[in-house]
Amino acid sequence: MRNAVLSSSALLAGVIAAPAMAGTVTVTIPRLNVAEYHRPYVAVWVEPAGGGAARTVAVWYDIKKRGNEPGTKWLADLRAWWRKGGRSLNLPANGVSGATRAPGQYSIALPADLKPGAYVLNVEAARETGGRELVTVPLNVPNTSGRATGKGELGAVTLSR
């Protein structure tokens, strides 16, 4: 459902500013053989290579729709993302935040209005009773391509056009 919203808004942006698709990132959440498994919190964000404000592309966490605590208590465990901009993001964020995902491959459209230039794409995962990992891939807009692989909490992170 979230994916549908995301891609349709990207499509809309594509119509307005064609052909400005900045590309797609594919994130793999590996299946782990552990005694106690919880789906990881994952944040995907883009930073200008020369430094500058981070832009969150996606954050998956345990959204709670009831009660006083909307599920944001453990977001600081995505500690790099939290420091680089997560803490200033109002959640839930339309088209950005969503529920945690099961192991598998997920494609996320990069923001269509990313200006051409050099960036670093960051993917961070933190899992309850598990580990935490940060994977970075150099990102060139509009020639989007690249690949990196995590060691434990994340599998392949692939950039494509």
Partner: protein, 286 residues
Amino acid sequence: MSPLARRLLTAAALLSIPAGLSAHRMWLLPSGTVFSGTDSWVTVDAAVSNDLFFLDHQPGRLETIKVWQPDGTPGELKNGSTGRYRSVFDVQLDKPGTWKIGSQMSGVMGSFKVDGVEKRVGGRGGPPPGAGGQPGAVRQPPLTVADIPANATDVKLTETSSRNEIYVTAGEPTTKVFKPTGKGLEFAPVTHPDELVAGEAARFRFLIDGKPAAGIKVSVIPGGKRYRNEEGGMELTTGADGVLTVTWPTAGMYWLNATTTDSKTTTPRATERRMSYTTTLEVLTP
């Protein structure tokens, strides 16, 4: 007794008095420094010990500890309790921003002579009256500056002031609680103390009476001493602008202590002012 021996004894006596100035380290250890969500609580251990952060000597004193909310107004300390080796308390971080938790203490200590007998000012007070003392006898209260008689000689007084403060942040960091008072030794961070990352240099300015404290000595000691051989501390000095630069070798909790003396006293007949600043800092992995 030679003058040197006497001076050493006096120095030893002075050192043994307030916990903040002895070899024992006072520390506040928060359960975390970076919090998200809308209902965050921090729980804090307060204790005195040599090794950081092991509970094996004395508890901290809760009555001296205060809480500052992100807007600088007083906050509330909850669920306080004092055990044999530690005190513990909670603070509900019900407002976003950076909170300050800690204590500020000041006093006067030293010695004087009356009719050739040396007496001490400050500290823990004298033993109970009578030789040996009765079981359960109460120690005599410490002498104060007001107790120094007119015929006292060899008056040696030192003003002491110490701060022990920690910083915890809910949501986005703020800086209002760093506003200096302009009195004594204070911490005016350039790098926010809740944004420390291993491998990155952090810069903290120290102020004395609101002005940059150049060339003061600062010890930075990582916790977890029991699990390694060396203390692993760093002995650093502030620059001419009062700024200390620390590069964190690894993530973890660090105890930081700055101590300095000068002669800008406000107590009559005091010749020295001794100031210390202590904080506990959490360094995260990149």
